[in-house]
Amino acid sequence: MIRSEGLTRRFGAVTAVDGLDLVVERGEVFGFLGPNGAGKTTTVRMLAALIAPTAGGAHIGELQLGRDNRAIRRRVGVLTEAPGLYRRLSARDNLLLFARLHAVSDPSSRVERYLRLFDLWDRRDDLVGTLSKGMRQKLALARALVHDPDVLFLDEPTAGLDPEASRRVRELVESLRSKERTIFLCTHNLDEADRLCDRVELFKARIVALGKPAELKERMYGRRTVIHFGDRPQGLERALDLPFILDTEWADDALVVGLSDPERENPILVRRLVELGAEVRYVNELRVSLEDLYLDLMEEHDA
């Protein structure tokens, strides 16, 4: 659905985006992660046909950036980092404006649908300036969706939302995915990205890493089993003579074992530990957060 080849944008001597090659499939939730100033906003602006690339190009579906910019803007919805709403207009008038600019048929009922979806119907005639930060964020999200776009660019969609509203946004993203909508998610909330995204790209002017979160973690850290004991057995790791063990380390009273095929090797490992007299309390897979992965990869990239 989104395809870019060598997408580049320079501002004078500064290269904000450097030769970005990207393919995002229809119905995919794609996480675009990177530090502030990494070029995420510039990338979104180029892909949403707001600014032109200095070099390279991109397609949204069959539409070509540069040639079909207006048609692209009809098919994409953009949630900018700041809600950017008209404070002197009511919630309903804000949405009606955008529904009309997108030539939505029957804009009133469409606006009503989205105001109800985001629990804003009761506040529809209130000026945006009187709404809470969370309500404004929901309204901005409704604005990005009001024309039912095929591709949605979301920049920090849950910023400023309470946990309940954040969960509703995540559920909405899930439901949009099930409707084959493509979602390009820029966020610093890595837990959210981990939960929502089919694939993530770590980005800092150019690609740092790309893949499914689980695959990236495995590639970086391997698969590791954590074994918790009743009492920490002394010298146990030296007695473990199984050939498939890649490495071992202690984390407090738990033994962390690197394995290449834990589904096959875990039962053998546990049996051997019991044979050696260890009191195994429980075994689990080491969960690495996307945040750990992100920080390690960025550190590696900077080095």
Partner: protein, 238 residues
């Protein structure tokens, strides 16, 4: 055209809810109508033809100041307000074209300015009956009418163009208002010339002013249109 109308409606709704803009757009015309009436009444009592002409010319110029000043408040708010609310990017992400956006913003200022100016002139004519004993003979003349209906659109467009250029560079409303006050120069300069003349405004004088204003309006609007492009707005505007 549809998008321009949608934008116009949005601009006017916002302006109507902004007391500062509303006050600026209504107080000055009321003041100018009163001042013009005063000049006419004073002029009728003066026997020296040169002095009388200066007073009448000044009255006319009040109505030429209005179309230049009224758009200032609306246009400055229209652009600086968008900057302050960070609302331009979502707007630019819609299918609206750069030209539609520019025209939506420009016409939102020009149309009310012209309507208010002409309504003020009508009010002035109406009030001159009880206050000046009838419409003064020098008012409903070709030079006056040519100035009121021919020069005012040009003054408005020039003013809006200047305001848009200034607002695109200014990051806060106060600075924009301050620098946009240059937009008042086009009617002020002729005011000085007219006031020092000892004859009534002539068709030739209005024609010369019209010619100068056409060149000025085209020039400033051309610059404003160049500044009013997505790329410029998103990457250069502060």
């Amino acid at each position: 055209m549809h998008n321009i109308l949608v934008l116009l409606r949005k601009e006017w709704r916002e302006s109507l809810r902004n007391k500062m803009v509303l006050f600026g757009a209504l107080f000055l015309p009321a003041f100018m109508v009163g001042a013009a009436l005063f000049m006419i009444v004073q002029g009728q009592g003066v026997d020296i033809p040169g002095a009388q002409a200066a007073l009448f010319n000044t009255a006319l110029m009040y109505f030429l100041v209005l179309p230049a000043v009224i758009p200032l408040a609306i246009a400055v708010y229209s652009i600086v307000g968008e900057k302050e609310q960070q609302s331009l990017e979502p707007l630019l992400a819609t299918p609206v074209t750069d030209l539609e956006l520019f025209l939506g913003k420009a016409l939102a200022s020009v149309i009310p300015a012209l309507v208010i100016t002409w309504a003020s002139f009508g009010l002035f004519l109406g009030l001159s009956i009880p206050f000046a004993g009838g419409v003064p003979p020098h008012v409903l003349t070709i030079p006056w009418l040519a100035a009121i209906f021919g020069l005012t659109p040009l003054l408005s467009l020039t003013s809006v163009g200047i305001t848009m250029i200034v607002s695109s560079r200014a990051s806060d409303a106060r600075a924009a208002y301050q620098f946009s006050s240059f937009a008042i120069l086009p009617p002020i300069v002729p005011l000085i010339i007219y006031s020092t003349r000892k004859a009534l405004v002539s068709v030739a004088l209005v024609g010369v002013e019209g010619g100068v204003l056409i060149v000025a309006a085209v020039a400033v609007l051309a610059i404003a249109v160049r500044l009013f492009r997505r790329e410029q707005i998103l990457t250069r505007w502060k």
